[in-house]
């Protein structure tokens, strides 16, 4: 019985030693790898940031400010800044303009550099419509600076090819009566070029969402305010 117990103890000892002999190097290697990883990923970039560079201490020296050369330089700089500030301020004209935020689907109408109206709109849905024959259309609102190129009341929508493709309808020839749709664009439309319009909508519940084919949709009151405030040539800023 004693010999049996001794044997068990011996076996336990051997097992422990074997486990330790395997586990120790594995554990040590893992620790070393972890250290290596942390060293490369965090410590070295941290040490790099200790490099302060040679900074120049900025001072206000009365002797320097009395120097005629300095005065000349300051005066020239001051004139340049005034000229540049004037030029920059001239970019924000006193004319009316509208700003469209396509991420949040909001619009901001300005007159004399003051915000006079803001609200929800709908912009491009970022849908890529793919049809047979490798034809495709991307429905997104263009970004940047545009100008109002035309204004119409009671606009009629001339349906482009994609409007038929999207519904699985055959594309009619240009000028076909099925191309014309009445009453879907609201009471007014303002063109910003390349076929993009600011217009009204029947789907008012979608205002504030990206659902259009690239045009900007507004509710009736906002559209009327924009129509009455902006004139042909007014700027439209889309971002």
């Amino acid at each position: 019985m004693t010999s049996f117990l001794n044997n068990i103890n011996l076996m336990e000892e051997i097992l422990k030693n074997r486990i330790l002999r395997i586990a120790m190097p594995v554990g040590a290697s893992l620790l070393a790898l972890l250290f290596l990883f942390a060293f490369l990923i965090y410590i070295v970039p941290g040490i790099q940031e200790l490099e302060a560079g040679r900074g120049t201490k900025l001072v206000s020296n009365p002797e320097l400010t009395a120097d005629p050369g300095y005065k000349k330089q300051i005066s020239s700089l001051s004139k340049d800044i005034q000229r540049l500030s004037k030029k920059y301020a001239s970019y924000t004209s006193g004319q009316s303009y509208v700003v469209i935020n396509t991420t949040d689907n909001r619009f901001y109408l300005y007159r004399n550099k003051k915000l006079i109206r803001e609200g929800f709109c709908s912009s491009g849905s970022y849908t890529m419509l793919m049809a047979e024959g490798e034809r495709k259309w991307i429905f997104k609102t263009p970004k940047g600076r545009y100008r109002i190129q035309g204004k119409t009341t009671s606009p009629v929508w001339r349906k482009p090819d994609w409007a038929f493709v999207e519904e699985g309808l055959p594309i009619p020839p240009a000028g076909h009566p099925s191309r014309w749709e009445y009453g879907v664009l609201g009471d007014y439309a303002l063109s910003i070029g390349d076929g993009y319009l600011i217009h009204g909508t029947l789907y008012k519940r979608f205002l504030g969402m990206p659902v259009t084919h690239g045009c900007i949709r507004l509710n009736d009151e906002d559209l009327e305010a924009i129509y009455n405030t902006l004139s042909v040539g007014s700027r439209v800023y889309i971002f």
Partner: protein
């Protein structure tokens, strides 16, 4: 018995050899780490020299006019304002969207043709030490000049494009579903500029564990990519690239608006 002794002797020899190999391997790794660290420490100085060459007081071996006043705070302040205004004007000449970071009043602005169309409040700011400590005129002139985005990495898509296959006929037509506008994606991104500066824009709130994890993995991935590049350059006996950084936190919705608005190769100018 003799055989046993031989076996034990061989075992000890093997163990000694193994230990020796381990020591040699550890030595090689340690030596490489020292070499890598030294090379990495050279990198910021190199970057500084590059910046000085482009924006310093000396150009083509000659002092630029007025550079003797570059230690005067009033003069420097005016110089920086002038450079920043010049940059804004040059960016405004395009019809495109650009960003101006005004670190002095903690705002990130989107502008189009000189009109500020969106402003976001910067809630926290971190900068590389060389951007904070180096000669003000040199660094500020570099930052205030228009920088072009050459690469960007983000946790959101720039254009959330959805593909729709056109129906073959009217029977296949399905009306569009209402888009999912829930705002669940964490918004963090890095804009890499042509000047080598990297601008990190992180969403302000990371109180949700998912947001914190997303930022941690996003940051880790970026660090690993950068270390891989640095290791590769070091192995070829080249000094790793150093990218000074500006890290800002803005509200999540503003971060998203800025990222989606600015074009792929958009421009940024920084005023500090």
């Amino acid at each position: 018995m003799e055989q046993n002794e031989n076996t034990t002797g061989n075992g000890t020899l093997k163990e000694k050899a193994r230990n020796m190999n381990l020591i040699i391997a550890a030595g090689v790794v340690a030596a490489f780490l020292v070499y890598y660290t030294v090379m990495s420490l050279i990198a910021p100085s190199r970057k500084l020299n590059e910046i000085r060459a482009g924006f310093g007081t000396e150009q083509e071996g000659e002092m630029i006019p007025g550079s003797e006043y570059f230690t005067d705070s009033a003069f420097v302040e005016m110089m920086i304002r002038k450079t920043f205004l010049q940059s804004r004007i040059s960016m405004a000449e395009t019809d495109s969207v650009y960003i101006t970071l005004n670190l002095a009043d903690s705002t990130a602005n989107l502008e189009i043709s000189g009109v500020a169309v969106h402003t976001a409040k910067i809630s926290s700011l971190k900068m590389s030490r060389i951007l904070r400590r180096e000669n003000d005129v040199v660094i500020s002139s570099m930052l205030a000049s228009p920088m072009t985005i050459v690469k960007d990495y983000a946790t959101i898509r720039k254009e959330p494009l959805m593909v729709k296959i056109a129906p073959k006929d009217t029977s296949e037509f399905k009306p569009d579903v209402i888009p999912d506008t829930s705002d669940y994606e964490p918004v963090n991104y890095i804009l890499e500029m042509d000047s080598g500066i990297r601008i990190f824009v992180y969403q302000e709130t990371d109180t949700i564990a998912k947001d914190r994890n997303s930022l941690f993995y996003f940051d880790l991935r970026d660090r690993m990519k950068s270390v891989t590049g640095s290791l590769w350059r070091t192995l070829r006996f080249k000094v790793p690239e150093y990218h000074p950084f500006i890290k800002i936190r803005v509200p999540k919705s503003d971060a998203k608006v800025i990222y989606r608005a600015v074009p792929r190769n958009g421009q940024i100018a920084v005023y500090r």
